[in-house]
């Protein structure tokens, strides 16, 4: 702190954001990457600090972030960044020393400093021009004035606590756990180390005569031993600071090399299954070889699983970005919002996680802008708390991951959507579609680019883009909405883009793969069930239900193939709510299918979504159910 005086003298508005001509570009690149990491981490630490103001570790981490940015910026001659980081660091130091509380306007100011530095660093990456410099100087000057005001006149910061700040937990004592955190006693009881009755007694003793820590009471009175308490404390700390607890050691790897490794593993798996299935080996195998082959098989599968998991990353960073987004939106719109995230540790393919960010931003913005009532009184009148809740959750179910965005706002307006749909000629005047169909209209392109009058209009802005992005990831969106109670968007995504569960079938000479998820049931084919219905073509009666009959052979191989042998089985498949009956000659079995993209030229063939290498090394074709259903009707 000894150099404070001299630095503050420099900290005038003269400090430039332009990159000095002699700056070392290598160091600069490192600085940009590191500063970004620091700032991202600070953002999420600050979010945690908002509910757990006493977390010293996180506060220190934020302080260090500003400190190291200041240091390197000074070295590089980036005076503008240095000066602002310095002032922010001063403020954080005061917060650390307990001179000012980290809440209300102080918190906002720290957040704004992070945002400002992010912007300044983004400018560095693209190259700073005079215009950027002027803008940054102005913003920096304003921010520094705010910081100084907070540092000198500490009164407004203190009185701001506890009112109009739904996100800050003013009531929590500085050293105690945040309200959301689990209590020590509960952890011990849950672990079976402590009987509930003992806990109640200990709690009584704890308050009397002088307040002491529960852990001390428990150990002193012999109700629990020190080790158990220490373990429970560790559990408690982990629950209170999820951002810190989950840090694992990682190695950064070039994505291209990783992909090449996965390709090679894929080839190994195929080669291995070809050897296993080779007819030359059948029948003349010694027990020793069988054992060795089994070993090879096991190792290959493990490699494959590991390979797939290498590409899996948790959705946490994406969710954290959303937390920041909600905070900003909530401040800007003045709507008090409680943002919850659940299942941040859920893992998804890296590509999916990267591509899901934009649609999520869009949908969360929609939820806040249009889902949540602008007037808290409206909420109270409908019997809901004044503070709205937006929940972002992720969980895995089968081979899919679901990401849900739910709000407890006013819900979708069925009548408004319907009238809009009629206006645009999407449905007939007298039609009475189901809710599901009605919600589907908000995904129509440009559905609400017209006059944005109602809550409905906003809901649809760009929702077609959202839907398309999700579909590219082979996912789908479900909407559940109850008027007055809120809306839930569920995004279903495949775990990875590369593998599906498939049912391999033979139709005439060729083998095709049905995605197992699309199969409703498989029945035997009876000639008498096949009917011709006027105006609808051929149908198959399956347990009383008429399903369109779709001979893939006629569609895919009209001219050739083995002489028409009567199909013996029928695969009933479903997609987008439509069903069809596909006659097949033989079921060859179910297996994990590695999807291989087809050459550009073949991607236009309707009804096919890719190729798969089957166990004999030949290529099978993966059916695209959506495409087939669209063809048929």
């Amino acid at each position: 702190m000894s150099q404070t005086g001299s630095l503050e003298a420099v900290a005038s508005d003269q400090a430039s954001f332009l990159l000095p001509a002699d700056a070392d570009t290598g160091i600069l690149a490192d600085f940009i990457a590191e500063a970004n990491e620091h700032l991202e981490a600070s953002d999420l630490h600050l979010l945690t600090l908002e509910t757990d103001a006493g977390n010293r570790d996180l506060l220190d981490a934020v302080f260090r972030a500003f400190h190291s940015i200041k240091g390197v910026a000074g070295f590089l001659g980036l005076d503008g960044i240095k000066v602002l980081s310095h002032e922010a660091e001063n403020m954080l130091d005061k917060i650390r020393n307990g001179e000012i509380p980290l809440q209300g306007p102080v918190m906002d100011c720290v957040f704004d400093s992070v945002t400002f530095l992010k912007g300044a660093i983004a400018d560095l990456r693209k190259g700073v021009n005079d215009e950027d410099d002027a803008r940054s100087r102005e913003a920096s000057s304003a921010l520094r004035t705010r910081i100084r005001a907070l540092l000198s006149g500490q009164e407004p910061a203190k009185t701001g606590a506890g009112e109009g700040e739904p996100l800050a937990s003013a009531s929590a004592p500085a050293t105690g756990p945040a309200p959301a955190a689990v209590r020590l006693g509960d952890i011990l009881v849950a672990a079976g180390d402590l009987a509930p009755e003992s806990l109640a007694e200990a709690l009584k003793e704890q308050a009397d005569p002088a307040p002491r820590k529960l852990g001390d009471v428990l150990v002193e009175t012999g109700r629990a031993d020190a080790k158990q308490v220490a373990q429970a404390l560790r559990v408690q700390k982990g629950a209170a600071a999820p951002g810190i607890a989950a840090v694992k050691e990682t190695v950064k790897v070039d994505a291209e090399r990783l992909d090449r490794l996965l390709d090679t593993i894929g080839e190994l798996v195929i080669a291995e299954s070809m050897i296993q299935g080779s007819p030359e080996l059948k029948g003349r195998v010694s027990p020793k070889l069988v054992q060795q082959m089994g070993q090879l098989d096991k190792i290959t599968r493990e490699l494959q699983e590991m390979g797939t998991s290498l590409r899996m990353v948790p959705v946490r960073p994406t969710f954290q970005k959303m937390a920041r987004l909600v905070r900003d939106l909530s401040k800007n719109s003045g709507k008090a919002v409680n943002f919850l995230t659940v299942g941040e540790e859920t893992e998804l393919d890296k590509t999916v996680v990267e591509k899901i960010g934009d649609p999520l931003v869009h949908m969360i913005r929609n939820s806040l802008d249009h889902g949540i009532e602008s007037d808290p009184q409206d909420r109270i009148r409908s019997g809901k708390p004044a503070t709205a809740t937006v929940k972002l959750s992720a969980f895995q179910k089968g081979g899919n991951v679901c990401i849900e965005i739910s709000d407890d706002g006013k819900g979708l307006n069925r009548d408004a959507i319907l009238s809009k749909a009629r206006e645009r000629g999407l449905i007939k005047e007298d039609a009475n579609p189901t809710d599901k169909e009605v919600w589907g209209y908000i995904f129509e392109a440009g559905f609400s680019t017209a006059k944005q009058v109602t809550e409905l209009s906003g809901r649809g802005v760009g929702m077609d883009v959202v839907k398309r992005n999700i579909e590219i990831l082979r996912g789908r969106i479900d909407i559940h909405s109850v008027p007055g109670q809120g809306t839930t968007f569920s995004i279903w995504l495949p775990l990875t883009l590369a593998i599906i569960d498939g049912m391999v079938v033979r139709i005439s000479d060729e083998r095709y793969v049905f995605p197992t998820l699309s199969i409703v049931r498989i029945v035997s084919y009876l000639e008498k069930d096949r009917l011709t219905v006027k105006g609808k073509g051929e149908m198959l009666s399956v347990q009383g239900e008429l399903v369109p009959f779709f001979p893939l052979k006629d569609y895919f191989q009209p001219d050739g193939g083995r002489s028409a042998q009567a199909a013996r089985l029928i695969v009933i498949a479903e997609s987008e709510g439509r069903r069809a009956a596909f006659p097949v000659d033989e079921l060859l079995g179910q297996q994990q299918i590695v999807i291989k993209k087809l050459e550009t030229a073949f991607q236009n063939i309707p009804g096919l979504s890719g190729g798969a290498i089957l166990s004999d090394g030949c290529v099978g074709l993966i059916l695209d159910m959506d495409g087939l259903m669209k063809l048929g009707f």
Binding site: D263, G266, E267, I270, D509, E510, R511, G537, E538, P548, F549, F550, P551, D554, Y555, F556, Q557, P558, G560, K596, K597, L598, E599, T600, A601, F602, Q603, N604, I605, P606, G607, L608, G610, G611, I613, G617, C618, V619, G620, L621, L631, G632
Partner: protein
């Protein structure tokens, strides 16, 4: 014109050459999976060490008569430029002959008639010794429009079932 090394191969009695830089490798015939709703010259797709690549029957593509595969039938795996992207595909030929050095002086413009092949694929005629080799413009074998037409156009006109 395009002097350089050419990989020569036979379709029936005629010799053809393809720029060696376009050739990735030569492999024996593999089991081909037919692609539905594609022109007859598209034989289908094969598994090339884990990659699914299309293979074309060059005889049919050039309007020559189909012929059953023999043990000399080969797939030449080529990399073609199509717009901004590179496409890897296989072309099926009767047999592969040799790599020829062709100097610019040995190249003559393609005849406007008399070839068994649609001349738009032919860059020139290479005369080396007493051999005449038709030098192919590999990138034109399957042109972009044609690539895009596969599938989409066919399916539009073919009676869709049911």
């Amino acid at each position: 014109m395009s002097a350089g090394k050419y990989l020569t191969f036979k379709l029936g009695p005629e010799d053809f050459g393809i720029g060696i830089l376009k050739v990735q490798e030569i492999i024996g015939m593999l089991a081909v999976t037919r692609m539905p709703r594609t022109p007859a010259y598209v034989r289908g797709v094969v598994n090339l060490r884990g990659k699914v690549i299309p293979v074309l029957d060059l005889r049919l593509k050039f309007g020559m008569e189909a012929r059953p595969d023999t043990d000399r039938t080969c797939i030449i795996v080529v990399q073609l430029q199509s717009g901004d992207s590179v496409i890897t595909m296989g072309i099926i030929v009767d047999e592969v002959s040799e790599v020829l050095d062709v100097a610019s002086a040995q190249i003559e413009p393609p005849p406007s008639f008399g070839s068994a092949v649609d001349v738009s694929f032919i860059m020139g005629m290479g005369k080396v010794g007493n051999k005449v080799v038709q030098l192919l413009d590999a990138d034109r074998i399957l042109m972009r429009q044609e690539l895009e037409a596969i599938g989409s156009a066919e399916s539009a006109e073919a009676g869709v079932h049911p």
